[in-house]
């Protein structure tokens, strides 16, 4: 059995004291513990930003790559070794801004990975510029007179492109968040959790601003209903729903299933070097 301490990293944490990222880290450890995952069975993938530093603070395999590029890295790790629990940890700037194209196309692929977005609606590490989810006319340290771009609706975007598991959590509610992570990691296919993570240094909203507006989806909410989900994934402002917003229990084919069925079913690392015979046969076709 895995113990919570098994995930402890002795690396000095660079987050601001009191940052809500700590809540996300704790929630993730609890979810992994509930899944009884050993550190070597987990692979975290991240890009750049404060959220992307999380893999350093949770003992496991990780690849901390470039700004916005965590998803393509995670997609191919999952293809080569589907047995690893591959989780992308990213922020709103990293995932929806710099990596927006990968966000769209990874949803289309449906790899068996989990995407966790620390959404604080601001660029924290670069000291307070607008992110793709900053609200309209919020003033920032670069958009002095307010943001004049409509905020992106990432959850609704995911829904429209066929994402089968969409949830929103709150970094301040660790128990609820770790349950969402647990469900997301367990889900076969691309699962996506956007986490409201108030930034205490540069955020345009305070934690209480979010708390006043957030509500948990009631038990009778039917998250299998795509129409309902479209309403909930676009709901923002006066009321902000958290919980599983959409889940498609009719399992979509996974990215790589076709390859498994037609070409090779296993870890690609098991293949080794090809026999000369195969290469010679291919060559002969050029004679």
């Amino acid at each position: 059995m895995v113990k919570l301490e098994d995930y402890s990293s002795n690396i000095e944490n660079q987050w601001c004291p009191g940052c809500s990222n700590f809540g996300i880290l704790t929630a993730m450890k609890h979810a992994l513990l509930a899944l009884d995952k050993n550190p070597e069975e987990i692979c975290l993938v991240s890009g750049i930003g404060q959220a992307a530093k999380l893999p350093h603070y949770l003992k496991c395999n990780f690849f901390n790559g470039l700004h916005g590029r965590a998803l393509p890295i995670a997609v191919s790790i999952n293809i080569v070794n589907p047995e690893l629990t591959t989780i992308v940890v990213t922020g709103d700037g990293d995932c929806y801004g710099e990596g927006g194209n990968h966000f769209l196309h990874t949803i289309r692929r449906n790899p068996d990975i989990t995407l966790i977005v620390h959404n604080n609606q601001i660029y924290g590490l670069t000291k307070g510029q607008a992110s793709p989810t900053t609200d309209l006319w919020d003033k920032t340290r670069l958009q002095f007179e307010g943001v004049e771009l409509e905020p992106l609706l990432p959850l609704a975007t995911a829904l429209l492109h066929g994402c089968s598991f969409i949830a929103r959590g709150y970094a301040g509610d660790i128990k609820h968040l770790s349950e969402l992570f647990l469900e997301a990691i367990r889900f076969k296919g691309f699962s996506y959790v956007d986490v409201i993570q108030p930034c205490i240094s540069y955020g345009t909203h305070t934690a209480s601003w979010y708390k006043e507006r957030m509500y948990k989806l009631p038990p009778d909410y039917d998250f299998n209903n795509k129409g309902e989900a479209l309403v909930k994934t676009t709901e923002w402002g006066e009321k902000i729903p958290i919980g599983i917003l959409y889940r498609n229990d009719k399992q979509r084919r996974l990215f790589g299933d076709h390859f498994k069925e037609t070409t090779f079913n296993g870890k690609l690392t098991e293949l080794g070097f090809p026999p000369h015979k195969t290469i010679i046969e291919m060559m002969e076709e050029f004679r």
């Binding site: 191919s76 070794n81 090809p274 291919m282």
Partner: protein, 556 residues
Amino acid sequence: MIDISMIISGSAGQGIQTVGYILAKTASKAGYNVFSWQEYESRIRGGSNSYRIRISDYPINAPFVKADILLSLDKKSNEKYLPLLKEDGIILDEHQTGKRIINVPFVGIAQQTFRNKLFANVVAVGALGAVIGIDPDSLNKVISSQFSRKGEEIVSKNIAAAAEGYRTARKSCEGICSWILPKIEQQYYLISGNEALALGAAAAGCRFMAAYPMTPSTGIITYLSKHKDRLKIFTEQAEDEIAAINMAIGASYAGVRSMTASSGGGFALMVEGISLAGMTETPVVIVLGQRPGPATGLPTRTEQGDLLFAINAGHGEFPKLVFAPSDPKDAFHKIARAFNLAEKYQIPAVILTDQHLADSYFTVDNFELDNIVNKSYLADPDTIENYRRYQLDHTGISPALYPGQSQHLVCCDSDEHDEYGHITEDLELRKRMVEKRLKKFELLRHEIMLPEEYQISGAEDVFISWGSSKNAVFEAVDKLRENKTKVGAIHFTELMPLPEYEFLPEKNYYTVESNATGQLGKLLRIEYSINVKNHITCYNGLPLDQEYIIERFLHG
């Protein structure tokens, strides 16, 4: 000695590629050395394009621009390519008649006999076959295999169309066509650079390729996708080149050999990823199929304009491998070597080709597959107690494991990192990590092959070339030496790191390059402090050929 050059021309959509390929394949199967290349406009219909074939009974593999035979499927193409016909050359034409003109109404025959002008190109195949004196049965075999997937009826109609073209041309051939190509007991491979790269990657155990389509590199992933079941390679069309290289890096981190490919613009998008591979010490192979830039440039034509770009690709300082194979056989071996060296030194490797090498069909006598030495350079997890992905030791090469392989955790970071792969701001450690990475470069230098010297002894003037131009340059040397000109050549195919090599100060050096600024010359000046007397450059989008090189050498 047989050395026939022909131009098959027409507009896009008329099927000149089919004509060219069938003829090239037939000559190759008959035991001849065939080299064929194409120059075409970036469009799907219309314009004026050509497919060039050179057939010989001795090894060449280089273009020859002046043609013995010109076949045009339309008037515009005839006018465009006529200046390239030798004085005693022969024209095959739909309408024209006259001395040294063989009148074959390709479209006329197709419409009259087959009620479909689509057969015009196969009528042309037959006509050309008659002109060069090729055995019709050999031609029919290739036609059959070319059209077999379209069904029996289409095959027999095409054979009939070729026979009609053959018969019509044969009548007018007498007295003017002296060529005859009887079957020789020799079996060559006819293969393009892209196909050879794909095969070489497969032979080296590549298991993953992601790419975004871009001329002229698309042929590599196309081949691997088509044959994924036999080769057991996962291929994916990425959403952009940034995703492509990151996917390749992710696959490599996860434990398999992986690659991507693009051309200039797409490669530009990959540059940050190359730097990531350098920092995380993740092996990855990137093919850069060059075409004329800047920006979109001439999408379907050739150039060697990205040498210094490839050498310098990636911000920051880190070791990298850059190879530029000279032909498909070399490409086959170079890419396999790149996979092995990239894994051994945990670095990115760039294979520089160009449209000329990527798309042209070359004759290969023997691939020498046995010379490919595959070796896994992964560490043995059982012998490691305290695993550190970036362990510092005297070689700079740390033990590589992949995640999930054992209980050892594999941690990689694009930030400067400590031995475990964790982010660090320890500036003393930063210095040691830089030195660790660069140390690998010095070790790698000892594995680099020397450039190939050709007719160098006694030469006063020496051409220095790189990549796909080798055969054209060597042919120019042969030609010049026939006239007692004391020339030789040095050809580079491994360009980063450069090997230790001595240039003799008494010789006059000329770089011969398909670019405008003499990029190899600049590189050699930096690395070897040599003075290059002049650059023979070519930047009109066409490949170098012996005549051009000789003309520029003799007359500036």
